[in-house]
């Protein structure tokens, strides 16, 4: 039997992991909900942002907070570029071609990163103390990242609900024909959405680089998981994705302690597959 204290620690770590996963899933889900295209390469854009922050800190000696802000800018720029160069020409293609085009982007990003920066693992070392609460050890770095992730999500929520552009973006995701009739330009809203989604990737990148080492195939570790969270929560459903991220993170974290790391992921994926059969619209979908 596993010591309950380890189990409790796994739960706490799961919550912290959930914050990061939720951030990744929200960015992807925003783009999916509005533009109706799954960016297979979304987490690879996060990887690029991580590299950006890493080089700004280690090569140019920028302070971490400034490099993190720059990372958000890099993310927004990448989002706009992906939208203009890849998504715009295939907006009316069959969904599978859209999926494959961003899949090609995934190959491209991974190999360009290998080409330019080799497969070395790189990380920004942040020396922050480890907290001990009642026998549980919590990394302060991860706690900080969790707090900032929650903050970023609140900011996204406020943007979508309290601003004019945000309201228009939500309107597009509800009915893309009607919004054009209302005088808004969907093309411009798509671009703004891509920029915001990209900026979220930048935030995620800045928060991930202080916890994990980045390498060209970093996206492979989080990519599939991020899609599954989006689908579980219901594609385009922000609240659903948020909740699903924490559920999956708990399964992975606790499963990892109880069985093994790989089996934690296997259990999470199997739960995903089974839920897809039982509740194809996501766990929070209302029954039609």
């Amino acid at each position: 039997m596993v010591d309950p204290i380890f189990l409790l620690e796994a739960v706490v770590n799961g919550i912290l992991l959930g914050g990061v996963l939720a951030l990744l899933a929200l960015g992807l889900n925003l783009i999916f909900g509005v533009i109706d295209i799954v960016w297979i390469a979304y987490v690879d854009l996060v990887t690029l942002c991580m590299y950006g922050v890493y080089f700004l800190v280690s090569l140019y000696g920028w302070p971490l907070w400034l490099a993190g802000l720059a990372g958000i800018g890099i993310g927004a720029l990448l989002g706009v570029l992906v939208h203009l160069l890849i998504i715009t020409p295939i907006l009316s293609s069959p969904p599978i071609n859209q999926l494959l085009a961003t899949g090609g982007l995934l190959f491209f990003i991974q190999s360009v990163a290998t080409l330019l920066w080799s497969t070395d693992h790189r990380s920004v070392r942040v020396s922050l103390p480890t907290l001990e609460v009642g026998g549980i050890f919590i990394s302060f770095t991860r706690l900080l990242a969790f707090g900032l992730a929650i903050l970023a999500m609140v900011a996204l929520y406020l943007f979508l609900t309290r601003t004019y552009t945000g309201t228009a973006i939500r309107a597009v995701s509800q009915d893309r024909e009607a919004i054009a009739l209302m005088g808004a330009r969907p093309q411009r809203l798509y671009l703004v959405t891509s920029a915001v989604g990209g900026a979220m990737a930048g935030v995620a990148g800045a928060l991930l680089i202080i916890q994990y080492a980045v390498h060209p195939y970093f996206g492979g570790a989080f990519g599939p998981l991020t899609f599954m969270i989006c689908v579980l929560g219901g594609l385009g459903n922000m609240v659903g994705a948020f909740a699903a991220a924490f559920i999956m993170a708990q399964v992975i974290s606790v499963g990892g302690v109880l069985v093994s790391t790989e089996m934690g992921y296997v259990i999470a994926f199997v739960i995903f597959i089974v839920l897809m059969f039982v509740r194809p619209g996501g766990i929070f979908a209302r029954r039609a």
């Binding site: 890849i86 899609f227 594609l235 994926f269």
Partner: protein, 334 residues
Amino acid sequence: MSGARLLGLAGVVALALVPLLPLGPAQEYIWHVIIQIFLWSFVGSAWSLMGRFGLVSLGHGAFLGVGAYATVLLWNFYGMTPWAGAGLAILITVAFALVVAYPCSRFQVVGHYFGLVTLAVGEVIRLLIVAERDWTGGSLGVTLTTGGTASDWWTLQFADKRVFYYVGLAAWLFGLWVWWRVDRSMARSAMEAIGEDETAAASVGIRVARFKMAITALSAALTALGGVLLALYLAYANPDTLAGIGVSLRIVFAVVLGGMYALLGPFVGTALTIALSEYLRIYFGIKLIGIAETIYGLLLIVFIIFLPAGIYGSIAQAARRRLARPSGRLPLRA
């Protein structure tokens, strides 16, 4: 039509004669590249059996991996000859495919969702192979235990690459034959109707679930056979080269690049991607690691934007249009 057949026959004869040509010191390498093209094209054809009907699986690496690992492990641990091992491996894969396909078709998991479910299935298999490292060798992979002799029909291990050359050629032709049979069958029309609209297809009396399960079983069986042959040829299986998302996506991309609706599409796509990566690998050597993949990724994006029917698919379409014009008849197929 007989002209095309003659051309095809000449092509097959030419390919069959390649191992007899004096190719100098590079011959082993050239055979190796062609064997890989044969085997991966075969897997691509198997994938396109589902892909062309809208069942775009992103998890065929799972079928490949189950086939390869079952054969290798049955030989390594139980001394079962790959003849029986391959049969058993294919049976296991088909059973596994049906376990996934049944609920997918029962609960109408289609489109994006089908892709994501199969993606998860592929990851589950890869992670299980890594997790069961005590007997699968984990992420280090597993080597086929040698049978002792240089050439042996019992263990299906051959030091001479030419044996595998002909095995690969035969497998590839078999894959094309299956594709052609499906293309000519009534099932094709039914599957196309299902791919367009399941509910409408069901309403005209097409047994949607039965057709989807059948085509999935066929595709999985052939993919598993491809995995078996690849594992026997390389005498090695690795979760990253024969299972998982990377492999699944590679299969899909090669087929899409060539053209998923054409007989030779998977072959053209596979041959191009393998030839390109081998050429770039030799040209750049160890200088610019990743450049081959970079160009490959760029080509994929460009092709999907500008040539969605694939290279061979687009050429075949254009040729058919030109042939159809003088006869004055309407082309039968779009």
